[in-house]
């Protein structure tokens, strides 16, 4: 689960991490009020208007603007609020439709007054799958695309692994601050920053923190200017307060609906929908659709209970995508009996009346597969049945031809 920049910053602040000051606004009026409040705190006319969407590269699409006075603030905040912001990370990239901006963060210009004395760093924390522990990745090359830095100048990307039983140690914080070339007050500030940041990471069960840039200000403070925070979905049971921060308007509407039915669904760009039990088999089914000349329109794991109600919900979810030309149902019945699933498919099909206008291929294998095939074949419906996976693949090829 991803947080907005302003939500992430609030989380960091609770753990004592210094952040760029800012106030979130939903309307131009709120933005103007936020600017005035912020101005009293910073004693500066300068501010930054930052679009709040779940995608990086916001500056590239005009989603982040520096404003020098109230008039500019009024213009820029009205422009950004409601705009369809295109960034390299929004669906379709810079060529796509973009994402609607519903909120802006009015933030202090942390680089003022002494822009030249500021330094930008990169800091992130995540779990390293190879070493099975958390790692802090950091670099002097802040404000840039870290993948590019890692590729072109790998010696500038440092990693500090954290012992899971002991946690982050003092010498590690000092090492990070030294490697970033800091001394004096800024050095102390950085060790404090890293310490608090790691506590926030553990405390929130995060799966990713990326603070890029981490800024050294002209007066030697270390603050988070931007932040990307992803939380571990599996740990949300112990973070009810964080779970409430979920912004479903940022997620695919169909995926959100599927989730409410307990279906694990990911929307894709293809023309053959699929409904499968189990994540691995679902991915394999997508692959077989491709090998049969189609393109998968989705990933959909119906889980262990593929009864009529569930199958019908899954049908409705898949059919929301107008690009779907056929649907392949692939169920390996182990604990769940194939004849039950077959009856579910038939019932769902009948319940939906004319809603299904595309050919359906049902492949049921496992417990009572033969009975299941009979149920499908004798239903009188426009449903093709198969038992072997290869037969199903051939049927996909046939209906697409």
């Amino acid at each position: 689960m991803n947080l907005h920049e302003y939500q992430g910053k609030n989380l960091l602040k609770e753990y004592g991490v210094a952040i760029q000051d800012g106030i979130v606004a939903h309307t131009p009026e709120e933005a103007q009020a936020a600017y005035n409040t912020l101005k009293e705190r910073t004693k500066s006319d300068m501010a930054v208007v930052k679009a709040q969407i779940h995608a990086g590269g916001r500056g590239k699409g005009g989603g982040i603007k520096l404003v020098k006075n109230f008039e500019e603030l009024k213009t820029e905040s009205s422009n950004i609020l409601g705009m369809m912001l295109k960034t390299p990370q929004t669906p379709g990239g810079m060529e796509g439709p973009g994402k609607q901006v519903n909120k802006v963060l009015i933030a202090e210009d942390a680089y003022a007054p002494d822009f030249d004395a500021c330094e930008e760093y990169y800091v992130s924390i995540l779990m390293d799958r190879e070493r099975k522990c958390n790692v802090i990745i950091y670099s002097t090359e802040g404000g840039m695309d870290i993948e590019k830095v890692a590729e072109e100048t790998p010696h500038l990307v440092h990693k500090e692994y954290v012992d899971p039983t002991l946690g982050l140690q003092g010498f590690q914080m000092r090492k990070i601050a030294f490697n970033l070339g800091l001394s004096g007050q800024a050095f102390k500030e950085m060790t404090k920053f890293i310490n608090s940041l790691y506590k926030a990471f553990i405390g929130s069960d995060a799966s990713l923190f990326e603070i890029n840039p981490t800024l050294k200000t002209g007066d030697d403070r270390i603050i988070a200017v931007d932040c990307k925070v992803s939380l571990d979905e599996n740990a949300l049971f112990r973070h009810k307060d964080l779970e409430e921060l979920r912004d479903t308007s940022e997620e695919d509407a169909t995926e959100v609906e599927a989730k409410s039915y307990g279906l694990n669904y990911v929307n894709l760009d293809g023309n053959v929908g699929c409904m499968v039990n189990g994540a691995g088999l679902a991915m394999a089914t997508m692959d077989i659709i491709k090998l049969s000349g189609g393109e998968p329109a989705n990933f959909l794991d119906v889980g262990g209970t593929a009864d009529a109600a569930r199958v019908e919900q899954a049908f409705r979810i898949i059919l929301k995508d107008p690009a779907v030309k056929a649907i392949l149902i692939n169920i390996f019945g182990g604990i769940v009996r194939c004849d039950r699933v077959a009856q579910g498919v038939v019932d769902a099909y009948k319940n939906m009346g004319d809603a299904i206008k595309v050919p359906i291929i049902v492949r049921l294998q496992g417990t009572n597969a033969d009975i299941a095939k009979d149920i499908i074949d004798n239903s009188g419906l426009e449903v093709h049945s198969a038992i072997q996976l290869q037969e199903a693949a051939d049927l996909v090829k046939q209906v697409l031809a």
């Binding site: 522990c133 899971p164 691995g280 077989i288 996976l389």
Partner: protein
């Protein structure tokens, strides 16, 4: 023979009296698996499915000689249950539970580093099956057939698919190991492949991977140097987009190296019989074995 579990394993079920634990314990007993009891804290002394219930794993070890455990405990308590089993001296811990927080597993892995005699399988896995001897998991028993093909997989139903194809192709399985779909698992693809490579009663190995991580690449490089029997490999998720989690928490493409294409290329270079279509796993194994024997 077989690996990890057999007819002599003394198996206990952690989370024995819960809904999932009860159902699957019943299925395992019906298959003929040697379940010697179960653990549910606070219900010690009772009898469930005609087997004794213990308060702690230690008690089960002391009184029932338990050496293997299967865990059906809910996600928030599952990490704790794994550590309890390891602490009590259980040799093989199989954790079925899906949805354990990653940071819990980071701690569990660190804890297990000091328990070299304990092997964890999973979490988020279908379990381990030695056909005809022991079903220690949630897989459907009837699709299996005792035989000489070992299967290693990160997925549940896709494993059943492979098992079924092997059986339909006239072969059988020595042991099927579901290693699990999470970012952190106790036994890696390489660990499992190695067990089967060293098992004298396994003639061929099927390795089923998916997008995300480097486990298949690591196993492939080891296979290149150490293989004494044919390995057939499949990677699910050739059509998966980057950056999205596909059902399994561990199935996410993070870099260029963990795409299905990259993994299949490495596997091919390491001498593994790579199948592009999941419908050809069984038949490819049959051909590979014939090639070796000829």
């Amino acid at each position: 023979m077989s690996v990890l579990v057999n007819k002599n394993s003394n198996i206990i079920v952690q989370g024995f009296t819960g809904k999932e634990g009860s159902f699957h314990a019943g299925q395992m007993i019906e298959y003929g698996t040697n379940i010697v009891g179960g653990v549910t804290p606070g219900k010690g002394g009772q009898t469930h499915l005609e087997k004794p219930v213990f308060n702690t794993v230690q008690e089960a070890v002391n009184k029932a000689n338990a050496d293997t455990s299967i865990i059906f405990v809910p996600p928030r308590f599952a990490g704790d249950a794994i550590m309890e089993a390891a602490d009590a001296g259980i040799k093989v811990v199989i954790c079925i539970t899906e949805g354990i927080p990653v940071q819990d597993m980071v701690k569990v892995k660190a804890y297990l580093n000091n328990k070299p005699d304990c092997r964890l399988i999973g979490p988020n896995c279908p379990g381990v099956m030695t056909p005809g001897e022991a079903k220690v998991g949630i897989m459907p028993g009837f699709i299996h057939n005792p035989g000489r093909i070992g299967i290693v997989s990160r997925s549940g139903t896709l494993t059943y698919e492979a098992v079924d194809q092997v059986t339909k192709a006239g072969m059988g399985q020595s042991t099927c190991i579901g290693i699990g779909g999470d970012p952190i698992v106790g036994t890696t693809t390489l660990d499992a492949v190695r067990l089967l490579m060293e098992d004298p009663d396994t003639d061929g190995i099927i390795m089923i991977g998916e997008i995300g991580g480097s486990m298949e690449a690591d196993a492939s490089r080891w296979i290149k140097e150490n293989a004494t029997k044919p390995v057939v490999g499949f990677i699910a998720g050739q059509t998966a987009p980057a950056g999205r989690t596909m059902g399994h928490a561990g199935a996410i493409i993070g870099g260029a190296e963990d795409t299905a294409e990259a993994k299949m290329k490495i596997m091919d270079e390491c001498g593994i019989h790579v199948v592009k279509s999941p419908a050809e796993i069984g038949i490819t194994m049959k051909t590979a074995l014939a090639g070796v024997k000829a």
